[in-house]
């Protein structure tokens, strides 16, 4: 009999096995009598090193380690949506049923509900030749999303048998195909895919369609493309999670994958509660019908935290391959980087910057490169947009995770402590944030909202920029001494900041604002700016205009004008004309 592989050393989540050659890198293993899930992360002549995704308390040397022969993989099939998983795709509700309110170790539950029946429609006939990625069956996964079963990569052949349309469980064989060598492959409703390997695509498409979020500062000033990658860095309390929640709720992706990586448990239960209450304006159904939650809270095992990001992106890619636009929110990637650091420390690897391992940048780039808008193997168009929160230690953006993330994302929404302290949300700082997608997206804005949209945006950002310069003077000598035309800049910038950039997530109209209203709001603000500028040239003091309360009125547009009746805004322009004429008459 072959020699058994037994545990030799234990140090936190890292265990070692002596003198074995049976394991391969990244192989998934079961450790000990509790069958804790682990992964092989290092092999040398003497030792094989394994990281365990669960608590190792009580583990003894001499306990058995079983190999599975496959890398850490996910079960991909119907039942993923409207569900909540831990970092290694174990459904938390099933775990709750099994072990109660507290998560016990070695809790083995299957990822997909094996007993549930799905209403399957089969799209192939005997004799058809199927290539990888071909959609051979569909079933409604939730009330809004149709699940498409694709031939796994690496398999092709002729259909030799198929079942009739009807109700099937995920592991029922519904189609069998025979490849050229004569091997028979049974296709069920699900397939397996290793989490650390990107799923193949046909080719990448240019990123020229924006992901509409309904958040003014993002859509107007720092837009993100479908298939793009954005980073939201911010110290604690600056509203990273709130911004992520807003994007998840309102962005126009078909499917949302929300990864809570090393974050708070209460926050995840909040997401769960809020999303199920939230009615999706597009489908009229609950938001959870198109959402997957991956929750690996900060007190759950650290190695599973590292895996949770990969689990999330693999699920996102799987739905992308069906032809959906998927947005994945990773909150927060810093916790993931810290998990890498923690495990690297246990392996006694040579640390680079701030104790992070030297491979941090390559891991980050591998992750962000899995975003993209693509032609899928199944011949459809789909996209994965990554929005990653970064929690810089000490709120210092020069730390390694923020800096490296900056290199691999083209959108940077920097959250600002001072704005958050003044409860200006979203606290995205308009000076230090940027989006490189303008060039790619401008044709789309031009086509759909006209040249003026782009013009307004430029004007808005130039006013903000001028204000910033003026504020340096104001900070030294006060605003009173400025000439009137500069005072106007400060006033208009205030309207833009408070009336436009700041957005109230708890207000029914303000939480999501369509682009058409965003454009009109900009127009009204800039119209007033232009008019008052003329007045000042005609030597009318700006204080007279301020007394009229025109600026204040514009600030309240966001609350006063409902989203479905933006024509009221034309009335504002007439109003401005009338007031200005009044001033001139006097």
């Amino acid at each position: 009999m072959k020699e058994e592989n037994i545990v030799y050393g234990i140090n936190g989540p890292v265990i070692t096995i002596k003198n074995t050659k049976t394991f391969s890198m990244m192989e998934m293993v079961y450790v000990g009598k509790d069958k804790l899930v682990g992964e092989v992360i290092g092999i040398n002549e003497k030792f094989t090193t394994i990281q365990v995704y669960e608590e190792t308390t009580g583990l003894k040397p001499g306990e058995q380690v079983l190999g599975t022969g496959t890398p850490m993989s996910l079960d991909l099939g119907p039942g993923i949506l409207n569900n909540m998983f831990d970092g290694i795709e174990r459904p938390l509700k099933a775990i709750e049923k099994k072990s109660g309110a507290f998560i016990e170790r070695g809790c083995s539950v299957s990822s997909l509900d094996k007993d549930k029946l799905w209403d399957v429609t089969i799209n192939v006939n005997v004799g058809d030749y199927l290539n990888p990625g071909f959609i051979y069956a569909t079933c409604p996964e939730t009330s809004v999303i149709v699940h498409k079963c694709m031939v796994p990569f690496g398999i092709s052949g002729e259909v030799v048998s198929k079942m009739d349309n009807g109700n099937y469980k995920v592991d029922d064989v519904i189609v069998s195909i025979k490849d050229k060598k004569g091997n028979l492959h049974n296709l069920t409703l699900f397939q397996k895919w290793p989490i650390k390997t990107p799923r193949p695509i046909k080719n990448r498409l240019p990123l020229n369609i924006p992901l509409i979020t309904g958040q003014r500062i993002i859509d107007t000033l720092f837009p993100i493309a479908k298939g793009g990658a954005a980073a939201i860095p911010g110290g604690f309390g600056t509203g990273k999670t709130m911004t992520q929640h807003q994007l998840a709720k309102w962005c126009d992706a078909d499917i949302i994958v929300y990864v809570g990586c090393g974050e708070r448990g209460n926050e995840m239960s909040q997401v769960l509660g809020e999303f199920s209450e939230l009615i999706d304006p597009k489908s009229g159904k609950s938001m959870t019908e198109r959402t997957v939650l991956i929750a690996n809270t900060s007190n759950m095992p650290v190695a599973a935290r590292e895996a949770s990001i990969y689990t999330g992106i693999t699920i996102a890619e799987y739905y992308r391959d069906m032809g959906y636009h998927v947005a994945i929110m990773a909150d927060s990637t810093s916790r993931w980087a810290e998990a890498l650091r923690e495990i690297s420390g246990r392996l006694e690897e040579m640390p680079a910057e701030e104790g992070f391992p030297a491979y941090l940048p390559s891991r980050l780039s591998e992750f962000y490169e899995r975003a993209g808008r693509v032609d899928t193997i199944s011949g459809k168009e789909g996209s994965v947009t990554i929005i990653g929160a970064v929690s810089p230690q000490g709120s210092d953006f020069s730390e390694p995770v923020t800096q490296n993330t900056k290199r691999f994302t083209r959108c940077f929404w920097a959250l600002d402590k001072a704005l958050a302290y003044a409860r200006h949300y979203p606290a995205i700082n308009w000076t230090s944030s940027y989006s490189e997608y303008f060039v790619d997206l401008d044709p789309w804005y031009y086509k759909n909202y006209g040249e003026s949209f782009i013009k307004y945006r430029k004007k808005i950002s130039s006013i903000l920029h001028e204000e910033e310069k003026l504020m340096e003077i104001v900070k030294l000598i006060g605003a009173d001494v400025l000439p009137d035309d500069q005072k106007l800049i400060i006033e208009t910038a205030r309207v833009i900041r408070v009336g436009f950039l700041q957005q109230n997530a708890f207000h029914k109209d303000d939480t999501f604002v369509p682009l058409s209203k965003q454009k009109k709001m900009m127009k009204v603000i800039l119209y007033l700016h232009k008019k008052v500028k003329h007045l000042i040239k005609a030597s009318v003091p700006i204080s007279r205009v301020i007394e009229m309360g025109l600026f204040e009125k514009l600030i309240k547009i966001k609350y006063d004008v409902p989203n479905d009746n933006i024509d009221i805004l034309d009335e504002y322009i007439n109003d401005i004309d009338r007031s200005i004429n009044d001033i001139l008459k006097k």
Partner: protein, 487 residues
């Protein structure tokens, strides 16, 4: 079969290394008998084949390679629990030190606990009225929340914690289902005594469980202290249906103990020498706050930490802030001005507040009022910065109004007596009175309907009705106020 291992291979700091040990399990508790008849406890922290590394709780002093006798207990660290723990005092490792004898356990629980399944959590929504204006109005404490106090050496964090503990119990929970678990880590003897005396004075001592690891106690025990305390809290909350308030002080000492232990194990240090797993370790404590579906009890945590050199970017406050649901930050300059509690309003935050206030919880106008107070007070800071450059005289009228608003805000709203218990309505009304000091058009976070209702036009009537006791504040500072005070 119990095996004794005589002697040791190596002793390094608080670590004892044994060789040739069979059947040891990770994190198992061992008992080490010494030649002089005394015994100590330890925990297995690393295993390599038959070589095990043991962390000795009481320290390794007077141990030698030959005078020890180690017994494996076969289980991880457990705490004996029953309702009798209420009113008792334990050391950091969970052994009684009040000479009232051992606890007869109804249950023994692993002190490391297990993570609460996120789907089993109840999202906390019930607010706790602490009777402190700044906390109730601006950083509302919610039952099941973890809200740390970021303080510095010499500031009045202990007083604040005592006041919260004393006043918070009045609302929602009654005598029978309310308990306080107090964990002291590396604090001075008199601080521990202060808490004990104050709990006694307010008559709740019989509802308090104390775990004391004083500053001269072994640091390794300090790593166990919060775990014992939280295990006791979880037991009371989830098995005995009690509302438990856990006060843990001082988390910085805890983190330093962890650092000391990590470096003696020879681990690779992260930022400022703290181990790379500090975040996970702190999270394994803080995340034990919360509420669970189907259980009526709750665990609310108020950890206290002193920021070394008042630096909020120090790893301990920094990582804590990323895990906890907000923070209450104390400010030295307010403390120096003589204001109590010296809560620095702007960096303080309660993440769970938004869902636990407003209609049905506190009052409909709570959220806009809080936003407006924050926004206006942030402008006060700008005006002050300007005043420090050009002098208060040369400020514009509106900036001057902000300066005087700021002063009144700190004096009447932030400042309150140690024994003063303000109701939520009093605090909110006071907030509106303060906002009425500013011109109405400056209040851009509140819609007109609310302003019509609450904005006070008659400036002379301000602060007449409120019960603010001006004797407790510094009367000398009054001269600069625009408002005529009757007091």
């Amino acid at each position: 079969m119990i095996l004794n291992y005589v002697g040791a291979e190596e002793i390094n700091g608080s670590l004892l290394v044994l060789d040739d040990v069979d059947n040891a399990s990770y994190e198992e508790i061992v008992e080490i008998k010494m030649d002089n008849g005394k015994s100590r406890q330890g925990r297995i922290v690393q295993i390599e084949g038959k070589r095990v590394v043991i962390q000795v709780f009481e320290g390794t002093h007077s141990m030698s390679l030959s005078n020890t006798n180690t017994v494996l207990t076969g289980h991880p660290m457990e705490l004996s629990l029953s309702e009798e723990i209420l009113g008792r005092i334990f050391n950091g490792a969970g052994n009684p030190i009040d000479n009232l004898g051992k606890i007869f356990p109804k249950k023994k629980l692993n002190i490391n606990g297990t993570p609460i399944n996120p789907v089993s959590r109840v999202y906390p929504r019930n607010y706790i009225n602490t009777g402190i204006s700044t906390i109730d109005t601006l950083t509302t404490l919610i039952r099941g929340q973890k809200l740390p106090i970021f303080s510095g050496s010499g500031m009045k964090h202990n007083e604040l914690a005592v006041q919260i503990a004393r006043q918070a119990k009045i609302f929602g929970a009654d005598e029978n289902n309310f308990a306080i678990v107090f964990a002291a880590m590396g604090v001075k003897n008199d601080v521990a005594n202060y808490f004990k005396t104050k709990f006694d004075e307010s008559g709740v001592l019989q509802k308090v469980v104390m775990f004391l690891n004083l500053s001269n106690d072994p640091i390794i025990e300090r790593i166990l202290t919060p775990r014992c305390a939280l295990t006791a809290a979880e037991y009371l909350a989830f098995e005995k249906d009690m509302h438990v308030l856990v006060i843990m002080t001082d988390m910085t000492s805890y983190a330093e103990a962890l650092r000391e232990f990590s470096s003696s194990k020879g681990e690779i240090p992260g930022r400022k020498g703290y181990p790379g797993y500090l975040y996970s370790d702190l999270a394994s404590l803080y995340e034990r706050a919360g509420m669970i579906k189907g259980k009526s009890g709750s665990v609310t945590q108020i950890p206290i930490l002193t920021m070394p050199n008042d630096d909020i970017t120090h790893p301990v406050p920094d990582l804590t802030g990323y895990i906890t649901e907000g923070q209450v930050v104390l400010d030295r300059s307010l403390e120096k001005t003589g204001y109590y509690p010296p809560i620095s309003v702007l960096p303080s935050l309660s993440r769970l507040m938004k869902d636990g206030i407003g209609k049905g919880y506190t009052r409909e106008d709570h959220s806009p009022l809080a936003n407006q107070l924050f926004a206006s007070y942030a402008k006060v800071m700008d005006a002050r910065a300007l005043a420090s450059v050009i002098g208060e005289e040369d400020l514009s009228d509106i900036d001057k109004q902000y300066i005087s608003f700021g002063k009144m805000f700190e004096k009447k709203f932030v400042n309150q007596g140690f024994n003063e218990d303000r109701s939520i309505n009093e605090s909110l009304d006071l907030g509106w009175e303060l906002l009425s000091l500013l011109p109405r058009q400056e209040l851009d976070r509140v819609d007109d309907a609310l302003l019509d209702l609450h904005y006070i036009k008659d400036k002379d009537s301000l602060f007449k009705s409120s019960k603010v006791d001006l004797l407790e504040s510094n009367d000398e500072n009054d001269d600069s106020d625009d408002i005529k005070d009757e007091e």
